[in-house]
Subunit: 190 residues, 4 copies
């Protein structure tokens, strides 16, 4: 059975909700999924680190705050220098997602940071595998309305609760989890 | 009088329309503005290069194609190795804008390339200076609805003509030109 | 047999030499390798496009000029909007390399552009898989002395001919080709 | 008198030493300089935040850890959402520097994060203003041997103490501080 870990930080619950949709997508794709939360201090329990080490793929998730991943996510990333040193995550697959309040809002910067992190770990990066919905008839409820290739994006207005997140972005998160699982299962080492 | 040059490439007319709105914005801000078009072969007339050399600020514009500035813009950028070699543009101000069909669509990548180019020329980079319109009540007609800081963005649906470009994005382009002019006039060397 | 295409542009021969070392590395890794040159006009013969479509992995190569891939490479990338439209390269693996005159010199910018391009094509990205050689005892002849993860880098002094390229960087290019081939063979769809 | 604040985090003392050289450079350039350290918990005293608010320019500094600014620097950046909300830093100048163990080592990623942060604050970005030292005769002691435009870089081997940092990189840091001060003084609003 293919094992995929989703490790994320969420400040106000939006990224958590997005992570949950990625999680159901990964399961729908036929993989065993672990949903691992980095806490408000930027810490992750030892047992969860063990799950990361055991997984075939790791999906990173974070809000975009001030143009990049949250400091709590970065604290986790800095702590990953331990498995990095021995290249313990080498040849795993990696992917990532982010949520922010603005339509663009430098989400690309967060995704590219995730890629940089994955590359230092010698992982292989998988994007959304989705075409954008960008014709005149496109609606906010469409899959990949935000038009992202390198990682999944959600946009939650600055005054919206997690319950009010755009349905299309959550459906995108689900489809993204499914795509990652499908790809990883198909391309895992025989 | 402060002199600002806008140098852009446009493939289908959308970026041209955006450039024209930046142009009126720069003039509204009190500067002399030059609107210079890179042609379909990636060439710029000698007289226009002279205008770039004489300007206090240069604003770069390009569509985002396949995740970056168009090859025609890049050909112009590569040709700028000539003024780069003697650092002829050193200490000028720089800024940039881009249009693409998707809401995100890697426009951030184009803007960050413009910044990288400006930095090689030892220019100083100015962004939009605009807060995003990102509350629940936000509409597509709002200034900076796309939520960009590092450069101005417009999004034209894949099946829309230049005439059909979102009004809010064109107003954003105008406000961006005005902001650049105002900043450059205020901060030009005494 | 696993098929890997290397598609590159070279302005003065340094990137060509690097590409040749990637090529021998790919072959040493057990894959069939195609070395495809984008010409000075940014064009690639139709027969070579067919080889790209048939390959399991595509490795992009370009010098870094003025902070990004050369305009000739970008013209190729823009022309790849044709296979992009039908997502003909979806689920292929991708990787990349670049050469420039400066030790850093914004090579990261070129590699990240390659990644952005690969993501639009829904490809999966593979880096160097190499730890940096960065202790006090490190020498310019070491593998990955330049310390890059996301793609292979070479640095050729501004006044050096292709023959004078640092041996360590060429060895790195070879090892990079070998790593890509090994990864792709191990992870190709059953 | 022009006021410039340098705000940095240092994990093992190398970035601190670099910051001190930036500091002397800023003073040599004729500005009043404030050297402000973010502590190991990612905190900055209130009095230092006040100095940031009062300065005409802010220079960001951080080591590059796991491909980006340290989490402590990011915690500071996230806390800057408070002045961001009211755009208290609007129209200040900004610049940045970083140190890491590898020659490249994704330092570009840290510098581009600094730029993204500065753009959200509506600041104007200044780079090194230095040509690279990249001919065959170049030596590790040269100014800007590392070849960076967008921000100052230093590279300290993984097993070197702060005392053993390359002299050329420290001289580069000094020259960078001087360049920022000179530019800011020349271009401050009349």
């Amino acid at each position: 059975m293919t094992d995929i870990a989703i490790v994320y930080h969420s400040g106000y619950g939006h990224t958590k909700r997005m992570a949950e949709h990625v999680h159901t997508g990964v399961k729908a794709g036929g993989a065993t999924a672990h949903l691992l939360a980095i806490d408000e201090h930027g810490d992750l329990p030892e047992a969860d680190w063990a799950k990361l080490h055991a997984a075939q793929a790791i999906i990173f998730g974070s809000p975009t705050y001030m143009g990049g991943a949250s400091w709590q996510f970065k604290k986790f990333a800095d702590a990953s220098s331990k498995p990095w040193f021995g290249q313990a995550w080498k040849d795993k697959f990696a992917a990532g997602f982010t949520n922010s309040a603005s339509i663009n809002g430098d989400k690309h910067s967060t995704i590219h940071y995730f890629i940089t992190l994955a590359m230092q770990h010698s992982m292989a990066w998988i994007g959304t595998g989705m075409m954008p919905s960008n014709a005149k008839a496109a609606t906010r409820d469409d899959q990949n309305y935000l038009g992202s290739s390198a990682g999944a994006m959600a946009q939650s207005p600055s005054d919206s609760s997690p319950d009010e997140m755009p349905k299309g972005d959550l459906a995108t998160a689900h489809a993204f989890g499914l795509r990652v699982a499908t790809f990883v299962i198909a391309h895992s080492k025989a």
